[in-house]
């Protein structure tokens, strides 16, 4: 299983739709301060089901919706889609390619989709439960978080091994 594509539209600083295509190997994302690199990492975390606004640097979840800039007015919705390939054996779905989509409206209303079919947040969380995807300190390391594993209590560290086992 591997990451194929990520689309962000109205998510944080992505006031216009942006699409990233991924290949095997190492992808480096580069650019100036405040350009949107960590926002991409937040987009991945969010579409995989992150429920804490704080861990996305927001006060409320609506903070992830594009708030406007000098050049463009605020948007009413944030949407992120993540597409994985080679899923047939790994995910319990019978498809080789799987796209998960998450939308949030200013009203607070949310939508979740798997391969364009509406579902609940729970379905997305269940889908990825045993893959380790989206887990901080394992498949996601946030900015400034690399030494969290050293700062953690020894019992918490042991849990990381247990989850891997």
């Amino acid at each position: 299983m591997f990451l194929k594509r990520l689309e962000l539209h109205g998510f944080k600083s992505f006031g216009k739709k942006v699409q990233l295509e991924f290949e095997r190997g190492v992808t480096a994302i580069v650019g100036p301060n405040g350009s949107g690199k960590s926002n991409i990492a937040d987009g991945v975390r969010w579409v995989l089901g992150e429920q804490s606004a704080r861990s996305l640097r927001g006060n409320t979840m609506q903070d992830v919706i594009f708030a406007g800039s000098d050049g463009k007015g605020p948007l009413g919705m944030a949407e992120v889609s993540l597409t994985l390939g080679g899923c047939e054996k790994k995910l319990d779905l019978g498809f080789d390619e799987v796209t998960v989509t998450r939308r949030l409206y200013r009203s607070g209303e949310s939508q979740y989709l798997i391969n364009k079919t509406q579902c609940r947040l729970k379905d997305i969380l269940d889908l990825f439960r045993d893959t380790g995807l989206g887990r901080e300190g394992y498949s996601l390391v946030g900015q400034g978080q690399i030494d969290a594993i050293l700062q953690a209590r020894p019992e918490e560290r042991r849990l990381i091994i247990e989850e891997a086992a």
Binding site: L20, G25, T27, V141, I146, D147, I149, L150, A164
Partner: protein
């Protein structure tokens, strides 16, 4: 189960030791489980010895040494239980050029089995990448993707 845990633990222990020595160019690293009455109170203890130095309290490590130790453990976990992909945000920020070079070598090794997405400001990490995505703010102050050539990135970084 208890045996699966011991097995996983031993593998992580082995990988941690080996990756640590690769990244630091020497020294030694050990993981051990502390004794506890209840299983949930057992802790994962880390003890390391940097090349040429004596075993010391982990807190006395420098910023870069802490980062490299954490990276060793992180990548040991990823080798034992690979994730389909990883997003790593500026984990190389505090490494000096020597450590960065060894880290970049490790990335190339890992790229075979795990898709690594590295947000970085460091040329050494960019050179280890197969693909480079540039992100900038456009005139309307919206994030956009731009094509990046390594030579151009090097120039911007003043290198």
């Amino acid at each position: 189960s208890k045996t699966k845990f011991s097995e996983t633990f031993r593998e992580v222990q082995r990988e941690f030791q080996s990756i640590f020595v690769k990244l630091f160019g020497g020294g030694a690293a050990k993981l051990h489980l502390s004794e506890a009455e209840k299983a949930e109170e057992a802790g994962l203890e880390i003890s390391i010895r940097l090349p040429g130095k004596r075993m010391q309290n982990m807190n006395l490590l420098s910023g870069g040494e802490r980062a490299l130790t954490a990276i060793s453990l992180q990548f040991a976990l990823l080798r034992v239980k690979p994730s389909p992909f990883c997003v790593l945000d500026e984990i190389d920020a505090t490494l000096d050029e020597g450590n960065l070079g060894r880290f970049a070598k490790l990335l190339s090794e890992f790229a075979q089995d795990t898709q690594l997405i590295m947000i970085t400001h460091r040329l050494g990490s960019m050179e280890a990448a197969d693909i480079l995505y540039g992100v900038t703010m456009n005139r309307e102050n919206i994030s956009q993707l731009v094509a990046v050539q390594l030579e151009a990135a090097a120039a911007v970084l003043g290198e």
